[in-house]
Each structure stands twice: as C-alpha cells, then as structure tokens.
C-alpha cells in the first residue's frame, strides 16, 4: 500500500516518532512516500492571524500531492491533520477561492485538480491494514501492560466523522488489537496545552496534570499518543511534576513492540520518561 505522506515540522525531531513509523510501516507493508519540497501547514496559529496566507500554504501541500498523483495525504500529527482538513473543507465549499489559489500556484507550475483526502496514520493502520497483520508476534506478557489511549483535542473535533468527538474508540481498539490491555478513561480528548506550553507554563501544567492524573487513577502504566505536540507536552511536562513518572510512547512505538521490533529501532531510548521498567514485563 502506497500513500502520500506529509510528515509535518515536528516529525523528524520527535522522540522516536520517525523511527517507529518507518519500522512499523516496513513490517506491515505500508509505503509512506514523503511529498517532495513540502512546507509548513501553518498549524492552528496562522489561520487565525492570516487566513488567506494559511490557505495558500496548506493548498500548496495538496497541489504537491496532486502532482505526485496521490488521492490522499497521510499525516502523523493532529495539528497538521486539523489544519489540512480545515483548509480542505473551505476550498471544497468555495470553488472561487480554489481557482484563486490555483492561479497563485501556477508560478510554481502547481495545480490542485482534485482535493486529496486527509488521513491520519492511525486510520491507515486501523482501517487499511488487515487486522491479522498486527497479531501473532506480540511478546508474552503484553497483556499485563495497561495503556491509556490519548487522542488530544484535534483529531476528532470539530469533524466528528472519524470517530466519536468526545469518547473516541479507534486508538483504544487499535492498541487492544496489538495485545495490550486498554484502560478506559475520561481524559481522551482533553487539551494538553499544545503550543501554549512555552508562553503559558503556569496555565498549561494543570492541563497536563489532569491527563496524567486521570490515566494513573484508572490504572494505566502508560499513555500512548498520536501527535508530536501532545507527546512532547505530556513527556517533557512531567519534569517538575510530583508523583511517579508516566511514560508517553507513540502508538507507533507500541505497535512496533507488539510486532517484535527491538526497542532501540523504535527510538524508545529517546523518550524522556523511560519505559525500561515496563518493558521488563515482556517475557
């Protein structure tokens, strides 16, 4: 299976996201073809400051996908996912704007002939890959590890079509499919503070505490995320937190472990809160 891949700005520098995505995709037979010369999506900030510029920025990514012949763009970041979907929705509803943008893209020889679909890698793993591909290789003892699935605020909202906007289930089901024990909890879609963490630490710390505290209360050994910003905030934000640390692996890292890929290949050593104690549960 071949997909047009939009990695987004934080993908490569993040704690093992790239390593684990690549390792897992290799095993389950997914080819992510990075769009050449891609640019920043503008995230949520640009669209609120300069909507026109933000649309053009994102539209260029769509045009690149069209050029490469992809009918879908896969992302690994919730902020990219929501920024791309937002622009796509606006362009879909406003053919005039799309024409304007296409005029501007001509300078680069680009054109959006068909708006590509926007998909998160989780969706691809869960829906496109045969469920059997994830099972059978899990190390013994995997069911002893309890995981809280954390979706963040931008994957299911405001769309509500990928999953339930308030009580999503897809990541829970995926992690369950891998063989882990999944813990239900009430912080699945709470905001982690996102990009506000640096300017507003005081206000953001309680948000992190809420998510980690909830997962701990419900008995989770770890929280798995599917967004680099969530991961960074929850992982680094525990620095001055009281209480036992909570590892924050990516869903791709947990998938890799379940497929029997060695921890180092998955970049697990890059997590700030180490997973070592937990990995010993594997027999």
């Amino acid at each position: 299976m071949k997909y047009g891949f939009y990695p987004g700005c934080s993908y490569k520098s993040e704690a093992g996201y790239k390593e684990s995505v690549e390792a897992v995709c290799r095993v389950v037979g997914i080819e992510l073809r990075e769009l050449p010369d891609w640019n920043c999506c503008g995230a949520t900030s640009m669209i609120s400051m300069n909507a026109e510029g933000a649309h053009l920025l994102t539209a260029r990514v769509f045009a690149l996908a069209c050029k490469e012949g992809f009918d879908a763009v896969v992302t690994t970041c919730n902020a990219c996912y929501t920024a791309l979907r937002k622009t796509r929705k606006i362009l879909e509803a406003d053919p005039g704007l799309l024409t304007d943008i296409n005029h501007q893209l001509v300078a680069e020889g680009l054109n959006i002939n068909l708006l590509p679909k926007v998909r998160h890698l989780l969706e691809v793993f869960y829906q496109d890959v045969d469920a059997a591909a994830w099972t059978g290789k899990a190390p013994a003892g995997i069911a002893d590890i309890t995981v809280a699935a954390y979706y963040g605020c931008q994957l299911t909202r405001p769309w509500g079509d990928l999953d339930h906007p308030e009580r999503p289930q897809m990541l829970d089901d995926f992690i369950k499919r891998l063989g882990y024990t999944v813990i239900d909890h009430s912080a699945k879609t709470l905001c982690c503070g996102a990009s506000h963490f640096f300017p507003y630490q005081e206000q953001c710390r309680p948000l992190i505490e809420k998510i980690i505290g909830e997962a701990r209360r419900k008995g989770a050994h770890m929280i798995t995320t599917l967004c680099p910003l969530c991961q960074l905030n929850l992982d680094a934000g525990q620095e001055i937190r009281k209480g036992p640390p909570m590892p924050i692996p990516y869903f791709t890292q947990l998938a890799g472990l379940a497929l029997g890929i060695p921890p180092d290949t998955l970049g697990l050593n890059k997590l700030l809160i180490p997973m070592d104690i937990l990995l010993r549960k594997f027999r």
Binding site: E166, R167, K210, R217
Partner: protein, 1131 residues
C-alpha cells in the same frame, strides 16, 4: 330533479379588524352583487355572530336564495356554522361555499389593493362553483355505545372510568402486563407531594372491578377499521402463560424460577424473575411469564433437548430436575454428555461476549450426579400394540423407549451379543465407558422392553416371522456396520490389514487376539472420528507408533478438533496431504504402505478441496498394520429376500422424509441405516421422529397404507429475527471452565475414560455463565409450585375483535434516552441516573425500598440535578417538556428530606406555572437547594482536588454570577424530557390521525378542540398529545371521555355525504380503485362486473376518483364540473 335557477347570496365578513381594513370589504360586496346569479351581497363585522347568521337565514327565507357564499375565515373554523344557518333556513348545507379571505388573503397580503383584488377573485370563484353544487343525501346511522381506550396510564384509566361511569362499555387496552403507566412508577407527585400509589392504585383497582370496563392487559391494538360510531378494533393478547382467573398472586412461582433478569419496571436498577409481576399492586394482579423465542442451543439440538432448562437447573444445583429435563427428550444423557458433537455450543450467544457455554460437559456432569438405577419406572398404560425394533443402537433404543413409554409392547432384536449398536462397538471405552452405556440401557429396558440378543435380522429372523408373531410395526435401526473398501492393491493380505469398523467392534466386544499389535507400527487411513478412534485404540493395545494418513489437510479433517488434539497429546502422528497407493507385503504380511503426496485442487461435491496426487512423490511408510477407516456402509445381505424394500443410490434405506416409513407398509427405518453414518444425537432425533410416526399410525388409527401420512410436528422452528433476552451491558467476562483430563502418558496405558468431567464448582460456574436467551427456560418449576394450577404453558396469542363507537388514544410518552449526550456521562458513570430511574430509587416498592442510595449502598452527600436534558435543545428535542422543572424540584426536596444531602440544581429557566407550583419553588429555595442558572457543559470523573476522587464533577456556567462552576457531587440526576411513546406512530397510522413534527398527536384545534382529532370519533387524552403533568392529563382525559360520551349519547351520527360513487355504465371492471382504497370501501360485484362503493365505509378521500382510468369513479361535492367552474372564474 327539477332544475332551479341559482339565486345566490354572498356575505363578506370583516372579521373585526382581521379582514377589513386590509380588504376593502364593501368593494368586494359591491363586486359580488354584480356577478351572475347573485341575488344579494352584503358585508358585516362578524358573519359568524348571531346577527350575522340571521342575515343569511332571513335572506334565504325572504329573498328565496337557494345558494350561499360566505367570504371569511377558514372552512375548518366556521364552515359548520354557516352550513347550520343554511339548514335552519331550509336549504341543503351542501349548497354553501366558503371563500377564505382571511388566512389566504388579508393575513398574508401586504398591499391592500392586491388583497381586495384577490378577495374579489376568490368570491367570484366561489360563486361560480356554488352554482353547480347539488344537495347531497345525509344519512344518520346508529352508533355502538362503547368506547376503546388505548393505553392504561393515568390518562387511559381516567378516561375509561369516566366513560364507564356514564354507562358506556369500555375496552381498555394496555401493552404492559399491568396498567398504571409511568405514574405508578413515581413515589411522590408535585406540588402537593401526594404519594402516587395512594392516589393511583384505588383508580387501578376500580378499573379491575368496574363491570363496564373490559381490561385487555399485555395486549395491543393491531387494527382499526370502520368509521365514526362503528369502529371494528382488532386486539392481540399476548400469552401470559398464567391463567388470570386461577392466579391468586401469591408469588410462589417467582421463588422457584431460576431465571433472573433486569426489571424493566425498576428501569434496570432492580431484578425480576422470568415469571414476574411488575409490582405488588399490579392490575391485573396476575403473574406473567417472559417467554421469548426458544434459546438457540435448544433450537439447534437435533433431539430437541431443552438445553437452557437443564443448564439453569444445574446452576441451581437441582441435578435431579436437570437430569429429568434432559431425559424428556434424550434417553441416554450420560452417553450424549460424552460423545455429542454439541451443535448447541456452536450457536451459543455467550460466544459473542467471551466463549460458548460448555454445554456437553454440563450434561455429563448432571448425568454423573444421578444413578440411573434409582430412577422410578413411570406408569405405563398399555395400548395393546406390539412393535419390533431391529437394532439396539441410539435410534433403536430411542424408538423402543418412546413407544414403550406410550404403552406399546416393544421387543428389541440385536444381532450382537450385547446391546448398544455403534455406541457399543464403534466408540471406545476411554470415550464412553461401557458401564455408563449399560446403566442407561438398563433404565430403558426396565420400562418393560424385551431384548432378544444374538438374533440377526434376515438370518435368524425374517419380516414374515415378525408379522406372524403379531407385531403391528417394525423399525429397522440396523446402522452402518460395514466398511468401505480402499480399492488399492494389497487390501486383501491375510495378516496386518483390518478395517476400522471391525477392529473397533472386536476390541470393544473383547473378541480376537490383539496382543499381536504390541510393539508394532500401525498406520490408520482416513480423517474421520473413526480413524482417530482406531488410532487411539491401537495405541492403547500397545502399538509402538501410530500414524494417521489423511489425503487432505488438517483444515478439511472431519474428525472433531478436540479428538485430534487428544490424539496428538497421546503421541499419535498425523500425515496430512498423503494418499495411500498400495499396501506393501512380504510373505503375506504387511510391511508398509506406499503413499503419494497430494495437493489440494478445486472443491468437489462435498465442498472440500479435492486432493490431487503429485506424480513421482511416492514413498513407502513402513508399518506392520494398516487400518483403513475411510467410511461405512449399510450391511444388509438379506436385501434380496425383501425385494419390496426400496434402497437409495447411496445404499441406504429409502424412507418417506416426514414419517420415516419405508416402501413396505408398517416398516419404518432411521438412524445411520437411512442417513448414512452420522452422529449419535442425529440418530436419537430420527428415533423420536420414527416413534412419533409409528405411534400416530399404529395406535392413533390414522393408518392408511402409504396414503394419508401422519404429520410430525417440527420440534424446532427458528424465527427470522429471534426475540432473545438482550445481553446485559457491562456483564463481566468469565472464561469457560474445562474439565480435567487423564495424563496422556497414563491414559494410553488403559481404556480408562480420559475426560474426568467438571467439578461441581466448575459446573455451577459454567452454568452461571448462561445468558438465558429465551428468558423463561421452560423448566416448569413454577408449574409444580403453583397450588392454584394457574401456570399454562399451552396458552397462545389470541386475537379479539370488538366494535366501538369512539376511540380515545392515551398512548402517553417515553423518557428521552440521554445516552447520546456523552458529555453527561449516562451509561458511562454509574452514579448518573435518569429521572425515571431516580423515581424508582425513591419508591417504597423500588430496588432500594425507597432509600436514596448510591450503587455502593451509601447515601449521597451531594447531588446534582440537571434540567432540560434532551429538551429545549435543537440537537435533540427543541420543545420544553413542561414537567421537568417541577419534578426536579420535587427530587431536590426529597433528597433534602431523606438524606440531608446538598442539592445543586442547574436550570435554564425555572418554569413553574400552575396552581401551587410557584409556592413549591419558593419552598424548595427555602430548603437550601442551590439553584444555579446555567446549562451544564460536562459531567466528568476527573476530580479537581484529590479529596474528590471517586466523585463526579459537574461543570457549568453560573450565568447570574458570571463564572464557571465546578461542583463535585456523588450523584447526578438527569431531568430527561418527554417524547412520544415507542409505537405511537403505528397507532396513529391505524387511527388515521396526524402527528406533529415531534411525533405528538395533533388535536383538531389547539384552543377550541384540544381533545378532538381531525378524524371524527377519535379523541386524545394525556401526553400522547404533548407533554403535560398529571393534573392536566387527568383533566384532559375526563374531557376526552366527555366528548366521546357526548358524541355517542345521541345514539346516531350523520354519515359523510361527500363520498365517492362509481358509475356502473362507465366502470370497466379493472379494479384499480379497489387496490387504491385505504378504507376497504370498494368491493367488486362479480355479477355485474363492476366496482361498488360501500357508502358507510367511504371516507371521501378521492383516491379512487383520481385513479380511475375510465373516469367512472367520482366524488360528490368535488365533481370535475364544480372544480372547473371555480378555476374558470379565477382565470
């Protein structure tokens, strides 16, 4: 009819200031005066008033008018008024026409010049139309002085009592087992805090006792036809399986019922038995058995064993009763508990949750608890008939058992020295110990069955001998004891080849010297259970190595997986995709088996992929013994002596499928001899069917040679959408208990039984996992416990037809289901309740006996009540449900009073209009309830402070204080709104009444006719018309009864005159109109070849007139010429 030139009077109404001054009424009157045929035209302030009507009457009388037009409001509003005025003056009410210049003109036209012009056009059209009107015949018909009330809540009860008091016969239909509706579930009622039961139950009792009321509980109206004054109503009564006259309501049945499920009456917070009564004050006070479709396990059992029944008895520890239930349809419980292929487990619904119930092991456990020798011999009433049963396998034993129990003399003939057939010779002792088989056969023989062993049919005994001996019927249950041949070279070698059937038979009967197998190498050919049995027996006889050779792969192997697994643990090898080519010999002794590797090709007739040999892959498997086990056939060397017996191409006995009778009269056959090799339980099933057929024909006297064949009832019919008890949410997973097994190393040393059965603890836990799909498990414990003899499992659904003059719909409401509003956590957090759930929690007959307790059993310290859940919300129900503010405050008061807990009420607006309602609001405020104006955003279990862990946090904006509140509480009550009751749409369709966009029934007029509907003779009471509280409901119900009584008290009603007719000269007899008519008012006159309208049934809808291809159908008062005249004037 004498033609009369039209003389028309036209009257233009000002309607106060509603029509004039927007319409220049004087100008319109002036215009009208100039129209053709108009004799007089006037305008007046209120035409509908007494002086207004007087103009019309006087003009008709004095000016000789014969037609009238009034231009005013809508016909729905005042057409009857003006028609009455016409009648009063002596002209037909149908010689009147109305022009609606208010709703259609003055209210909706901005410009007064345009409005006046439009009004003139309308008047011209009406004048043109009325000229062509004809006086129609108005008939009066007698009415039925009886009333149907649909729904037995407080509205239906009140309406029924009021009408009955007036002397009318009332039929009250309620779909639940008890009347009472929602109100009977409440504890207190606002604002006076009367106890709901105290004011409700006397009325319920009155309904039961009033001789004028006939109550149909647990019943539904399924059809309404007819017309005002004469409605024919079809009522379907669901069976309660309890006789309402005999039942004393003592409740002994619930004590013995093993099935427990959630109580719908207690909103799932409490439990009830499968035999139950909603609440102790139920009316009628008759119990009811919740009997649904039979559980899939029972339906799937070829022998029809009531699986759910014996599983429940095992759960209760009543093993004797469990055994009895099994034995009702299965004479060999211990045998089948060991060797049944358990189709029941395949269909078990528990597998949707975790894993199927271990049903066969439970059967074995139950059988192991009972010593068959202790079973009493039932009394047998001899019927004097004699039946010979040939063969003592499972089919023959079942036939013998069934027929003997029913009084036939039965003689069993068995060729071998021991009884049991294939059970004896085919199944090795380690799977089925002979002691078990002996004991169960003994029970059957003890019924008084003669067994003649060592008598071979066709050799020692012929059919003629049996006829001579006076047998009335013969059953051939001879089994399939011959082996199929391999047809490969070397098969007839003297030493070292033995077919599996013979091999197993001889070992089982202790014949032959099998010490020759010790230390030898054995190859078994085949993939069925017989092959695996032979292999495991060979291993037990001391063979050093045993290999099973099978030409397909493991997936296609027909042997049961558990047998294969057991064989593997015993060290038996399996060579798949290997086919035998020839048996290799040396000096007349087997030395090996030459095999070829196979590959699987396309599927063959059996659906399995055909093995195809791979050329050049031949190898020789060295071995001392070859045991072919490739299939069995019927052995009947006597066949040529019985030329009348027909055989199938497959070599089995040919029988009539329904009766199992062979081509020879009075000779029946079943089991493997008919089906080919099959399972024990299938043979038992065949035995039951044959016994039934033999009994019906031989004893029942239905016998006609090959003619009138007795029919066998189908034991198990499966409905398409089975109604099973739902699997409860949040049921904890429980893994299946497996029995222990002998250690394989030990088990291969002897023929001791390998399976050790379940322990009692495991068996009880296993039975505990049963989901009780059918609800009632038909164990019939209640039947035994009922001293009044009220339990009646033979009840069936009944349909009753009644004729009534009027119908009162009182179908009520249902509470909004807040599950989709995930932010409020209903169904997620256990301490979030709906208001109806809280009513039960608060009720003295509820699950907590009226104590307000959390699931933990402790009283709450802080309670939140959230208003408008599902109401006033454009995503769900946009309207206000009217009762929630008041009942929420009632809850607040009760929580304060009973627990002293802090109460936080979150409201949008407080709505307390009603007598003493505002006063109640003030009282609750004074009781210290926190009233927060603000809609709740979220209920979460994430605490803000560690000390609140375990509580729920309610997040809301206090819009008066302009700040966000986060209130930790122990319990949340969602004040859910009201919506139309499920099924009310079907009732509205049956009655032909309209519903509004929200689904509530439409009243005829919001103010002036609040309990009438647009269909004459059908009235509304209670919440079916819209949300309302108890006082309003009772008032409206009394009003509905009053309207119905007032309609019927005259004794006659006028029938509709504007109905259709069919011109017989034009009718082509195509019958299109008959299909179109929703009222079944058109029938076909076969003699004349034309369609005929029944004037009494026609509702004047006009479908026939529109559909008629030859324009033979028309509708009076809406004739083409009349409508065209109206349009012509507008053009």
């Amino acid at each position: 009819m004498i033609y009369e030139k039209p003389r028309i009077g036209v009257y233009i109404c000002h309607c106060g200031t509603n029509i004039s001054p927007k319409v220049d009424v004087e100008a319109v009157a002036q215009f009208a005066a100039g129209l053709d045929n108009v004799a007089v035209a006037r305008d007046y302030k209120f035409m509908c008033s007494s002086p207004g009507q007087e103009f019309i009457v006087t003009d008709i009388l004095e000016k000789g008018l014969n037609r009238v037009v009034v231009a005013s409001c809508s016909p729905r509003m005042h057409e009857p008024t003006f028609r009455r005025a016409c009648e009063k003056a002596g002209i037909s009410p149908h010689l009147f026409q109305m022009a609606n210049i208010r709703e259609q003109t003055s209210w909706v036209t901005a410009d007064s010049v345009h409005a006046t012009q439009k009004a003139k056009d309308q008047v011209a059209a009406a004048v043109s139309r009325v000229a062509g009107h004809a006086a129609l015949t108005i008939r009066e018909v007698a009415v039925q002085k009886s009333i149907l009330v649909i729904g037995g809540g407080i509205a239906g009860i009140q309406a029924a009592l009021t009408a009955a008091e007036a002397g009318y016969d009332v039929y009250l239909v309620e779909r639940e087992p008890s009347i009472g509706g929602h109100m009977a579930k409440f504890d207190k009622t606002f604002p006076t805090l009367d106890c709901a039961a105290c004011i409700m139950t006397p009325k319920m009792v009155e309904v039961a006792q009033n001789p004028k009321i006939r109550l149909f509980s647990y019943s539904e109206v399924v059809g309404v036809s007819g017309f005002i004054g004469n409605y024919t109503v079809t009522i379907r009564q669901k069976p309660r399986y309890v006789d309402g006259i005999k039942c004393t309501g003592c409740g002994e049945c619930t004590k013995v019922c093993p099935v427990t499920t959630k109580s719908e009456w207690d909103m799932g917070l409490g439990q009830r038995k499968a035999v139950y009564r909603s609440f102790p004050q139920s009316v009628p006070n008759t119990f009811c058995i919740d009997r649904r479709d039979r559980a899939p396990c029972t339906v799937s059992c070829p022998a029809g064993v009531n699986v759910q029944g014996y599983v429940q008895m095992a759960r209760k520890g009543d093993y004797q009763r469990a055994y009895d239930i099994i034995r009702e349809t299965l004479p060999l419980p211990g045998v089948l508990g060991r060797v049944c292929p358990h189709p029941c487990e395949t269909v078990c619904r528990r597998a949707e949750l975790d894993d199927s119930i271990g049903i066969r092991e439970l059967k074995r456990f139950v059988a192991d608890q009972i010593d068959p020798a202790t079973l009493p011999i039932p009394e047998i009433i001899e019927n004097g008939k004699k039946v010979a049963v040939i063969g003592s396998g499972p089919a023959g034993l079942t036939v013998a058992h069934d027929l003997r129990r029913r009084g036939c003399g039965v003689t069993l003939f068995e060729a071998l020295p021991k009884l049991g057939g294939m059970l004896r010779t085919g199944i090795p002792d380690y799977r089925l110990p002979s002691a078990i088989l002996d004991a169960e056969i003994d029970v059957i023989l003890r019924l008084g069955i003669e067994a003649r062993i060592g008598v071979r049919f066709g050799q020692d005994l012929t059919l003629q001998d049996l006829i001579d001996e006076g047998f009335d019927a013969v059953f051939l249950g001879i089994g399939a004891h011959g082996a199929l041949r391999l047809n490969i070279p070397g098969e007839d070698i003297a030493e070292g080849v033995v077919d599996a059937v013979r091999f197993l038979r001889e070992v089982n009967l202790d014949e032959g010297d099998w010490t020759t197998m010790i230390g030898k190498s054995v190859t078994v050919i085949g993939g069925g259970n017989v092959a695996v049995d032979a292999a495991r027996v060979a291993r037990r006889l001391g063979a050093a190595s045993v290999t099973v050779v099978y030409r397909r792969s493991e997936a296609e192997m027909p042997a049961y997986l558990e047998e294969i697994v057991d064989a593997e643990t015993e060290g038996i090898g399996f060579a798949y995709l290997t086919a035998p080519v020839r048996i290799v010999e040396k000096n007349g002794k087997v030395t090996g088996l030459e095999c070829v590797r196979t590959e699987l090709g396309l599927p063959d007739d059996s659906g399995r992929r055909r093995p195809e040999p791979v050329n050049g892959s031949e190898t020789v498997l060295p071995c001392d013994w070859v045991i072919p086990a490739i299939g069995q056939r019927i052995e009947a060397p006597w066949a040529q002596d019985l030329p009348d017996l027909t055989w199938t191409l497959g070599g089995t006995i040919s029988v009539a499928p329904e009766t199992l009778q062979t081509s020879i009269p009075r000779v029946f056959a079943g089991g493997d001899a008919v089906s080919g090799p099959a399972s024990v339980v299938e043979a038992v099933a065949a035995g039951h069917r044959a016994a039934e057929a033999i009994y019906t024909s031989v004893v029942g006297g239905q016998w006609k040679d090959n003619g009138d064949k007795p029919k066998i009832a189908n034991l198990n019919s499966q409905s398409e959408n089975p109604d099973y008890l739902p699997i409860p949410d949040g049921l904890p997973l429980a893994m299946r208990r497996s029995p222990s097994h002998l250690d394989p190393a030990e088990s291969v040393q002897s023929f001791a039984e390998t399976g050790l059965g379940l322990s009692e603890n495991d068996a009880r836990s296993e039975a505990e996992r049963c989901l009780n799909c059918g609800s009632c498990c038909e164990c019939r414990s209640c039947e035994k416990s009922c001293e009044a003899g009220a339990i009646d499992f033979n009840q069936s659904e009944e349909t009753v037809e009644v004729v009534v003059g009027a119908v009162i719909a009182a179908t009520g409401f249902q509470a909004f289901d807040p599950t989709p509003m995930t932010a409020y956590g209903y169904g997620i957090f256990s301490e979030v309740y709906t208001s109806l759930e809280f009513e039960r929690l608060n009720n003295a007959t509820g699950p907590t006996a009226g104590k307000i307790l959390m699931k933990s059993g402790k009283p709450p310290q802080r309670v939140a009540i959230i208003h408008c859940v599902g109401s006033r919300d454009r995503h769900y129900r946009k309207y206000c449900s009217r009762v929630c503010c008041m009942y929420s405050m009632k809850f607040a008061h009760l929580v304060r009073e009973k627990t002293g807990a802090e109460v936080w009420e979150f409201y949008i607006d407080m709505r307390s209009p009603g007598k003493l309602y505002e006063e109640f609001y003030n009282r609750v405020q004074e009781e210290g309830v926190h009233l927060i104006r603000g809609r709740v955003a979220q209920v979460t279990d994430i605490p803000d402070h560690p000390e609140d862990a375990g509580r729920l946090v309610v997040v809301a904006e206090n819009t008066l204080a302009r700040r966000v509140l986060r209130v930790p509480v122990d319990m949340v009550i969602l004040s859910v709104g009201l919506e139309p009751a499920a099924g009310s749409d079907a009732v509205s369709r049956m009655l032909g009444i309209q519903r509004d966009a929200d689904g509530w029934y439409n009243e005829l007029h919001a103010k002036m006719a609040p309990v009438k509907t647009a269909v004459a003779g059908i009235f509304l009471a209670g919440c079916c018309q819209g949300p309302k509280d108890i006082p309003d409901t009772v008032a409206q119900a009394s009003a509905a009864a009053g309207e119905a009584v007032s309609l019927l008290s005259k004794g006659t009603v006028r029938t509709l005159a504007e109905i259709s007719y069919i011109d017989p000269d034009r009718c082509s007899g195509c019958r299109t109109c008959i299909d179109m008519c929703s009222y079944s008012a058109i029938s076909f006159d076969e003699g004349a070849g034309v369609a005929v309208v029944n004037d009494a049934l026609c509702q004047g809808c006009g479908s026939c007139a529109a559909a008629c291809p030859s324009s033979a159908a028309g509708i009076r008062h809406f004739e083409d010429c009349q409508i065209m005249a109206e349009l012509d004037a507008l053009a």
